[in-house]
Amino acid sequence: MTDRSKADGDDGSARGSGRAAFRVRGLTKVYRTGEVDVHALRGVDLELFEGEMAALLGPSGSGKSTFLNILGGLDQPTAGTVWFRDHELTAYDEAALTAYRRDHVGFVFQFYNLIPSLTALENVALVTEIADQPMSPFEALNLVGLAGRIDHFPAQLSGGEQQRVAIARAIAKRPDVLLCDEPTGALDSKTGVVVLEALERVNSELGTTTALITHNAGMAEMADRVIRFADGGVVEVHVNAARRPARELVW
């Protein structure tokens, strides 16, 4: 933990153990589309700490999604290394990455990505069936305040409800990290708050390391740290003096 990104001057371990869940060094990702090289990430160095909630802030195209996808084992970098605890993710092959996602990572996406043919409960069970020490699907849904709608199919749920099912599905296996890519992007602000509250609760009650992508500065106030992306690099790391409860957020 010697190197920090340049803007991260003061005590980085605002919360949690201070141990790094992720260590990222020189992370570079170049997409080649036709004749043009697109530099999505240009040598990012960063840590995410166990138990913290980090907000990744930045305009679209700044590289935050690419960064998150690489941390989640969905994508592989062109150069650089990513360590998850003692494991070098960047050395993993496809099968090892799948196992990593299965055992350690929870994802929440902008478009929920629920399985339309499964009910809320079954969508969660989908994950608990292949996890090591999961909570019960019912418990997970209860945690996001959806205990009353477990038998509904996605088509019968509102957007906010669907997203909370997605969160329940992501946390039910007790993941070590929760990666959320604009989880409220498709929701109105009132519904968005409910979803953020669910994330907040998971982070504080289960102590799950959480990375949250948003391009909304207001929303970043609920995080321990705000990591600002621009042009494929981290331009600022800001530690919030105090986390603002989700219900007080406005955007």
Partner: protein, 787 residues
């Protein structure tokens, strides 16, 4: 519209493998149609031209002996155009280097001019010349089987005397395109030959100077064939006529007509199956395209394209695929048709061959294919045309799923979520799942309906040669002999058992229904020649009354206990009303049986026989053949094992070709259906599957969810496939059934197994191809977009 056309081209390029699979299915259907009908018409025309040019007769009759002057009275029958009288005789042949006795049909031809009817097409050498009584012309197949060319010779037992015959020519005749020996069911060119010999020579040998024993004639246009046959029968009766018959009952003509009939049924049923499957595939592909291009359709309409323009756009996509299929079918069908026509022509040895596919055949094939394409795509195209632009621009409502019946019944405790997904996805579109299943089932059905023939042939062989005719040799006597000759035959080398048989040509009548057949007399103890019941168990010969084969009983519309009028057509020509004592199973021919003693009493003759069934020791067969060849009383020998072999060989050759085609076609159907359905499913559910991958499901687990559905459907298709196949087999057995040949409906477990194997293998191959696409799902891209 040019921009839209460019879109069309790119759409097609994008789904090229799916489009190709559909085009190939259409192509198969069209090819089958063009090939079958093209070959059928070509052969039909070639045969008609052959018959015409070589003046193939239309009515045939044999008599014991009739004076030449009768020919003038025959010619005077109203409706008769030309008459040709002949002398014909079945003889036993002895060919150097061949142990077995062969049989020959001697047919007289005029020495001084070409025959008026049933002319010969000389292939090698010349016809016979006056005064040279030993000269003969052989039919080409027999000549080739023995390498007997002009300059060669063979021996024949003519009227009890062995005579040397010198080959001077090799010829073909429209009368014997299919040369079938007495008692044979398939041509065997080695054991049976047609031998044309000078009329004078043959008349002298049989003391038939100024007489004839066979007559054939042609009819004037518009003549009533049955009327002429009746008149002819009346004229010939005093001379020992055994009943005239038309071309339809002429063996060679009958066999060829049957072959052509098979082509016709091949050309109608199979193409319909292929086009039905293609319509279904077009339906799912175009439906999916319309669904994914929903927003584009909205956009086009917002820009001012009419609903009709949009409909035409998707119709053109269908037409493009159908056109490729039809063109492939034309090319393939034309090529296969020419090959098949040549194959048949070679097999039949047609001296004249026309190959022509009528423009009509092409036009009909194209129209039916386009019709199938329209039927398949109509609903999707309509949906595109009717979609209001405002609605189209919004994303489609999310798919609605329900719990399946299994789950509502509470039987789901053991279902994993993956199994639930598979079940619910099937149940969300039950019609599509049903049609997919039926589509795959058609593949198994096609296989079963073609391969069951082999099974049936084995049943026929088993029944005819292992259960009914168990003799090794059938010895035909030149004329009836006292039963004592059995002892003489039993003394010959290698003979283990001899059974006496009497065959009498009869006409059986029940009211207006009547049939010519052989009434065969067997002893009650007969063990080589047996009767079997419907369940294939042997039954003993009743001491009196008639035993009819099931087909004959059906044709005459009689059952056990009914009485039939039986007219003997030889000897003293007795007539009696005899009871039917039993009906027995038989697949070949329409035979009737009777106790030999009762038959001889009916004929008012002493105990005589005309045939003998022999069980022999094969180690001594050469000596036995030698003895038989030198027994004047013996007119011919039929070797049953050779009959079985030629039966099996001839059919197996035809079947192998057809089976190869059908395996290809069936495999293509299964592949086409599974590949297209799975690709559509993948496109609909790519996002879902990518989500699962993100959640940590492995490639294998994710593939299992998508392909598991198709594995389930493929497995589910087997039972209906077997059922449809059995139904098709049943209808084919029925359509091929004739009085000479009944096809038992037997489908072996091997056939079912093989059909299942082909279906599952094709489904697996298409599954593996789709699997590669699942493996390369782009997780990130899928998650970033809203569907």
């Amino acid at each position: 519209m040019r921009a839209l056309d460019r879109k069309l081209r790119r759409d097609l390029r994008r789904i090229w493998l799916q489009a190709l699979a559909i085009a190939l299915v259409i192509g198969c259907g069209v090819a089958m149609y063009v090939m079958s009908l093209g070959t059928l018409r070509s052969l039909d025309e070639s045969r008609a031209a052959y018959y015409e040019r070589y003046r193939f007769a239309q009515v045939f009759a044999t008599v014991k002996r009739a004076p030449d002057r009768l020919a003038r009275r025959i010619a005077a029958i109203p409706g008769v155009a030309r008459v040709e009288t002949r002398i014909v005789s079945n003889v036993m042949l002895d060919i150097a280097g061949m142990a077995e006795p062969a049989r020959g049909l001697l047919i007289s031809i005029p020495e001084r001019h070409a025959p008026d009817l049933n002319k010969l097409h000389m292939r090698i050498g010349r016809s016979v010349e006056p005064g040279r009584t030993a000269e003969v012309v052989l039919n080409e197949a027999f000549s080739q089987a023995h390498g007997l060319l002009p300059g060669g010779y063979l021996h024949a037992v003519i009227n009890g005397r062995k005579r040397r015959l010198d080959v001077v020519g090799v010829a073909l005749s429209p009368e014997h395109i299919y040369a079938l020996g007495p008692g044979a069911i398939m041509p065997d060119d080695r054991l049976f030959g047609i031998i044309w010999i000078g009329r004078e020579a043959l008349a002298a040998a049989y003391d038939l100077e100024d007489s004839f024993n066979a007559v054939s004639l042609t009819l004037m246009r518009g003549a009533q064939e049955q009327q002429v046959i009746d008149d002819l029968d009346r004229l010939l009766e005093p001379y020992g006529g055994v009943g005239a018959y038309g071309r339809d009952d002429q063996t060679s003509h009958w066999y060829i007509s049957n072959e052509l009939k098979q082509l016709e049924s091949m050309g109608t049923v199979a193409p319909l199956i292929f086009l039905g499957v293609a319509a279904f595939l077009l339906n799912i592909v175009v439906s999916r395209l319309v669904a994914t291009e929903r927003e584009q359709i909205g956009l086009l309409k917002a820009f001012g394209y009419s609903g009709r323009a949009v409909a035409w756009h998707y119709t053109k996509l269908m037409l493009a695929i159908v056109t490729v299929g039809v063109l492939l079918g034309f090319a393939g069908g034309g090529w296969l048709g020419r090959g098949l026509t040549e194959l048949y022509a070679e097999f039949f040895r047609f001296p004249i061959l026309y190959f022509r596919i009528e423009p009509r055949t092409f036009a009909v094939a194209a129209l039916i294919s386009i019709g199938a394409g329209l039927a398949g795509t109509l609903s999707a195209v309509r949906r595109a045309a009717m979609l209001p632009p405002a609605v189209a621009m919004q994303p489609a409502p999310p798919p609605v799923y329900r719990k399946t019946l299994v789950e509502r019944l509470g039987l789901d405790t053991y279902l994993t979520q993956a199994a639930r997904m598979i079940l619910r996805h099937i149940m969300r579109r039950p019609l599509r799942a049903g049609l997919t299943t039926v589509g795959i089932a058609m593949s198994a059905a096609i296989l079963i309906s073609s391969m069951f023939m082999m099974d049936s042939i084995e049943v026929i062989i088993d029944v005819q040669f292992n259960r009914i005719h168990r003799q090794d040799l059938t010895v035909a006597l030149a004329e009836t002999k006292p039963i004592g000759i059995v002892r003489e035959l039993a003394r010959m080398p290698g003979v283990m058992r001899v059974e006496p048989v009497r065959a009498v040509a009869v006409r059986m009548r029940n009211g207006h229904r009547s049939r010519r057949t052989a009434l065969i007399g067997l002893t009650a103890e007969s063990d080589l020649g047996r009767l079997i019941d419907h369940d294939l168990n042997p039954v003993s010969m009743p001491p009196s009354g008639l035993v009819l084969s099931a087909k004959l009983a059906e044709v005459l519309d009689v059952g056990r206990g009914d009485r039939l009028e039986v007219h003997a057509m030889e000897g003293r020509r007795p007539v009696a009303r005899l009871p039917v004592s039993a009906v027995v199973e038989e697949f070949l021919g329409t035979s009737a049986y009777m106790d030999i003693a009762a038959l001889n009493r009916f004929m008012a003759e002493p105990p005589v026989i005309s045939l003998a069934y022999l069980q022999t020791d094969s180690r001594l067969e050469t000596a036995l053949y030698d003895a038989l060849k030198n027994t004047p009383a013996v007119a011919g020998v039929t070797i049953e094992t050779a009959a079985v072999e030629s039966f099996r060989e001839t059919l197996a050759e035809n079947m192998l070709l057809m089976t190869t085609f059908n395996v290809m076609f069936a495999g293509l159907i299964a592949f086409g259906v599974v590949y297209n359905s799975a690709r559509i499913s993948l496109s609909e559910r790519g996002r879902e599957l990518a989500s699962l991958r993100v959640l940590g499901f492995t490639r294998g687990e994710v593939s299992a969810i998508l392909l598991g559905e198709f594995a389930l459907l493929a497995l589910a298709s087997l039972a209906p496939g077997f059922l449809i196949g059995y139904g098709l087999a049943w209808s084919m057995a029925l359509s091929f059934e004739t009085e000479l040949f009944r096809i038992p409906l037997a489908v072996s477990r091997e056939t079912y197994g093989f059909a299942a194997l082909v279906v599952l293998a094709s489904a697996t191959i298409s599954g593996l191809i789709v699997r590669r696409r699942i493996d390369s799902l782009d997780l990130v891209a899928v998650l970033k977009t809203r569907e």
